[in-house]
Amino acid sequence: MTAAPRVALVTGASGGVGRGIALACAAAGWRVWIAARRAQEGEGVAREVDAAGGAGRFVACDVADADSVAAAIAAVLARDRRLDALAHNATSGLSPKPTSLREVSLGELQDHIAVSLRGAYLLARAAHSPLRSARGAYLLLTSEAGFEGKARLPIYAAVKAAQRGFARALAREWGADGIRVNCLAPLASTPAMERAFALDPAMQARVLGRLPLGALGDPIAEVGPAARFLLSDDARFVTGHTLMADGGSCPVT
């Protein structure tokens, strides 16, 4: 368990894996900013962070918008004076929607890119200075899809892979500043996964059928602690890495 309380910001934390990361960090006494577009849900998770032993704050944030990202980071610094840990978990609402490269529209493609990849870039630009001051950590939530591709979710797989390449290069670029950059590839039981199962009924059997540990991960108990590790000083010598928290699902590492 990490000793020193840290200040963390987690995007897309109003539910699912982001909420799990926030609550796992709360259990270590961290101050956790819930950055999300949905205020009601985000403020609810901030209260859960309080209840779990941390200090929760909510900030409205659209990760695809430069001004919104800059304002979110500014809000963190104005109140807490530092930022030790940044986790980019938000993904496009189109993530579970099946498509193909022969038919995907430019608009759909750009929505995926804007949230997953432009968001990663805007957050990096806005948070570089405070992360350097704190010798902090930047974590990108990728997916096993980014390793092995997906026949029916090719754009989702592409942006998740793009995050890995981005993180690998940024880890080398930011190492001299004392900032670590890593990825986490979770496979968890979330509302987004439930939507994906609903859109592709055969997917549930495919996903569960190859899981050595037999079940999807719990976002709070099984995925959140892995993220907290990478964001903490316990991982101070880990950078440029992708950690799989997928119950052994992905055959490629």
Partner: protein, 223 residues
């Protein structure tokens, strides 16, 4: 014994009578290296549009063309690299978002144009992991393109189409690679030599069991 599925795959698609006469079709971004690659492969060179706004119309038009047993896609990086904190929004768009969109649409065309039982090879500019500082957008594009290749290998495999990638740092190598030195003195290689040779390898029938792979043709700089 040859399986029925394989025989069906080799019989060609509905549009097989309209196959192109070139040995391969090259869907490419406009760069001297891609023209050299087309010459080395005796491929018909078809340019992808530079503008994002033209991609949907281009995909629809090109997808209706004649099928080909061998399709190569090359979307070389076009913008100068640099540290992320010095990369403004316009440069980010040009270095990351626009290229990923071009890759997605070009591979969509490749799927449509590749005959049943054929092969698609993507030539991906990727900075070698040792040398990737300052290339974060390009590394993102490269990994995205390789994931698109794997996704396409999955979706097109049912009709016998193989899809692979050649990754090269020919256009993204720093002037002074950090130690240790690349394994081969020919690093970073060229499109017309090292890349073309690796493309031929993956297009050939000898690679009939290879799909969804990203083969580094970077003179031993990454493994």
């Amino acid at each position: 014994m040859e399986s029925a599925k394989r025989r069906k795959g080799r019989s060609g698609s509905r549009r097989s009578s309209a196959r192109t006469h070139a040995e391969a079709l090259l869907l490419a971004g406009d760069a001297p290296e891609t023209r050299a690659l087309a010459a080395a492969l005796s491929a018909e060179w078809r340019a992808a549009p530079a503008s994002l706004d033209a991609l949907e119309e281009w995909r629809a038009r090109e997808s209706a063309g004649a099928t080909c047993a061998r399709v190569v896609v090359a979307m070389p990086a076009r913008e100068p690299a640099g540290a992320l904190r010095e990369t403004d929004a316009g440069a980010w768009f040009a270095r990351a978002e626009e290229p990923i969109a071009r890759w997605a649409f070009a591979l969509g065309v490749a799927a449509a144009r590749c005959a049943d039982g054929g092969a698609i090879v993507a030539v991906v500019d990727r900075p070698a992991p040792l040398d990737c500082a300052g290339f974060a957008p390009e590394a993102a594009v490269a990994d995205a393109a390789c994931a698109l290749v794997r996704s396409l290998a999955r979706s097109e495999g049912a009709r016998g189409v193989r899809v692979n990638a050649i990754v090269t740092s020919a256009r993204l190598a720093p002037s002074q690679p950090i130690a240790p030195a690349p394994a081969l003195a020919s690093f970073p290689g060229t499109y017309e030599q090292e890349v073309a040779g690796a493309v031929r390898l993956l297009l050939a029938a000898d690679a009939s069991g290879v799909t969804g792979q990203a083969l580094a043709a970077d003179c031993g700089r990454s493994w």
